[in-house]
């Protein structure tokens, strides 16, 4: 056996070590997901008003934003005003109330006004897992064909919106 072959595991490991080192502490907000270019996964969720069990067919037929939010999430509070603004401009937003308490969520929307066309409850976070959500808030842009085209992690504001609103077409 040639001698250098025995050092091969070490070399591979060093490469791996470099990858792991570079990754430590890196935490960019922009996170494309494996779902980009794919349709919104199947779901059956209950509306926040708790009157209906809905699935895909209830989603808007136009392009829209799919926003994961929760009352326990301070950043969601931060972005809420901007979402209201977007809604006033006529951008359709579907809200997913993520791992949250129903009463609190209803109260929150009645106080802060509701930017959502439709709010569905994902109490166990199962839909969140299907969508690859790692926290709240997260916003997906879905096009007219129901295909996910963009994923954004963190609070939505004017700077971000100007950059990504082109995806809504």
């Amino acid at each position: 056996m040639r001698k250098w072959v025995l050092f091969l595991p070490l070399i591979v490991f060093i490469g791996l070590g470099i990858v792991l080192y570079k990754q430590l502490g890196a935490n960019p907000e922009y996170m494309p997901s494996a779902l980009i270019g794919k349709p919104v996964p199947d779901f059956t969720l209950v509306t926040l008003q708790a009157d209906k069990v809905l699935d895909q067919s209830s989603l808007p037929k136009s392009a829209y934003l799919l926003n994961f939010w929760a009352t326990w999430c301070p950043t969601c509070e931060e972005e809420h005003a901007y979402l209201n603004q977007l809604a006033n401009q006529g951008v359709p937003i579907v809200g997913i109330d993520y791992k949250d308490d129903q009463k609190k969520a209803q109260q929150w929307l009645s106080i802060k006004s509701n930017p959502y066309q439709l709010v569905l409850m994902d109490e166990l976070g199962k839909f969140g897992v299907d969508m690859g959500v790692t926290g709240a808030p997260e916003t997906f842009i879905v096009n007219t064909k129901g295909i996910i085209v963009y994923r954004y992690q963190g609070a939505m504001d004017d700077v971000v919106w100007q950059k990504i609103k082109g995806y809504l077409q």
């Binding site: 430590l24 996170m31 494996a34 008003q49 166990l124 199962k126």
Partner: protein, 648 residues
Amino acid sequence: MIPEIGHFALILALFFSLCLAVVPLIGYWQKNPTLLYTARPLTFLMSFFVLVSFLVLAFAFMTDDFSVMYVSQNSNSHLPIWYKFSAIWGGHEGSLLLWVLILSGWSSAVALKIHTLPKDVGPVVLSVLGIVSLGFLSFMLFTSSPFVRLMPEIPTDGRDLNPLLQDIGLIIHPPMLYMGYVGFSVAFAFAIAALITGNLNSSWARWTRPWTSLSWAFLTLGITLGSWWAYYELGWGGWWFWDPVENASFMPWLAGTALVHSLAVTEKRGVFKSWTVLLAIFTFSLSLLGTFLVRSGVLTSVHAFAADPTRGIYILALLIVLIGGSLLLYGFRAGQVRGSATFGMTGREAWLLLNNILLTVLTLTVLLGTLYPLIFEVLGLGRISVGAPYFNTVFSPIALLLIVFMAVGPLSKWHKTKASVLLKACLFAALLSIVLAGAVSYVNSLGSLAWLTLSVAFWAVLLTFKDWFDKVSAGTKGIIPRARQLPRNYYGMMLAHLGMVVTLIGILLVSTSSYESTLKLSPGESVSFAGYEFHFDGISHVEGPNYIADSGEISVSKQGRFVTLLTPEKRFYSASRQVMTEAGLDAGFTRDLYVSLGEKLEGDAWSVRIYVKAFVRWIWLGGLMMMCGGLLSALDKRYSTKVRGNNA
């Protein structure tokens, strides 16, 4: 005062582990028997002080000492006593302490058995274990001590243990998992000691085997428990998610499975030596890597603990020293290892080589899938995530192939097998299993994938029993006496292989013949689903020790006959202000009925999720069989007698 004793005990343990890591090695190089002799007492001293600090932490939990930050973050005065105990490993610091405690346990066990090893090898093994302990003890003391106090403002009550972890499965799951993870450190230490001393004969494999089988058995149990816990506690009815945390425990298992087999070859035939050593290093490295991935926050996961980059740096440094150091040693020393026997291409070693290749490929598949997002990003290609589809499509065919070969290996003889004999048995079994599986799939109207998988399952069972029957029917003694003469090792293997098949069948049927639905139900309403009648009797209010709950009652009947009453709960934990779903479950040999409460709808209606899971228990039954198989072969008689030779 008492928590400080725990902290002090940890410092003492660190000191003794430092001595253990250094003194016996010096003794080895200077050929000084006195220094070598210190390894044993140093191991016991280190272990004793780790145990003391663990007991102190346990005491702090039992007495609700919320001045200790870790206790206040993970416990609550209303928490039931057994959860107070399991809360010790409910967070990062405590689970690290458990890790080290178990490492000490394994080290002490080796120290107790040290007389079976050559005089200069045993202390080196203990010393290597000391180096690992040193790394983890210093990690704990410098970045994550569980004894940090909240002074002077002591909280009046704790934040409570994460409700997800308040469960019987979580009391035993982490200790079992760690027993397996950490147990591989023994195989690792043996491998490093072999490289250092150059003492790598077949008795090396014989010493390593029982330890490896035992750790493998624990890890199998740990993973099985974890899967079972996720199934009933997360409320989705899923049993495996290809989550980074799960992969972290699955990779050492796959590599460990390869190690168990290649050790057998090395022991019996004296070949594959340097490969086996590499595999031992690889297996433990994956355990360490798993710890790193879970603790450093490099990967996000459904059930990761709090992430902290400083800790990440420290573990990474630890990884580089331990793994990099051992691979460097391997590079320099493994060239001196020579196989002593010839390798037969038609013998059992060839099948086991195939087993090793496939298992290594499987391990790398999971490793790649887990790390791919990281590599992708470092290369500047953006961020992606790899989900279950990748693992399912890549993993399943290779695993199926592995099970096909698994059945053939035991049939063949060491070194050389007559191809005609093997071919005849295999052909017969193949035909029979394809026909049988076809009949079963046809009757139950399952698809062609099920046909294929069931064929593999039948094939493996047939050949496993054929081999057993050949062994017991040869000779003149009669079947029962001969069956009793077969070594435990053999029955261990048989049980583990059959367990693999049982798990395979479970996985197949749960994915092809299960039903699920989300429905709206009001009290008094009934719904027909998958042949069962679910009647929603109503909701009652229940108060637990640290939660309040809505408890639903759903009676299930089949064709008018009462089957069971399911009571799914929706719990609100007041201290941590979290809502948890407890599924209502009726476990059965061929099917599980699984109901979980969703949200309260208008009026008194609820959304209810109903699952009928076919054969889901088989997945874990197979896991338990594999575990028993591992235990049985670890307890084989020839390991308990003294090793041959003049080392005593």
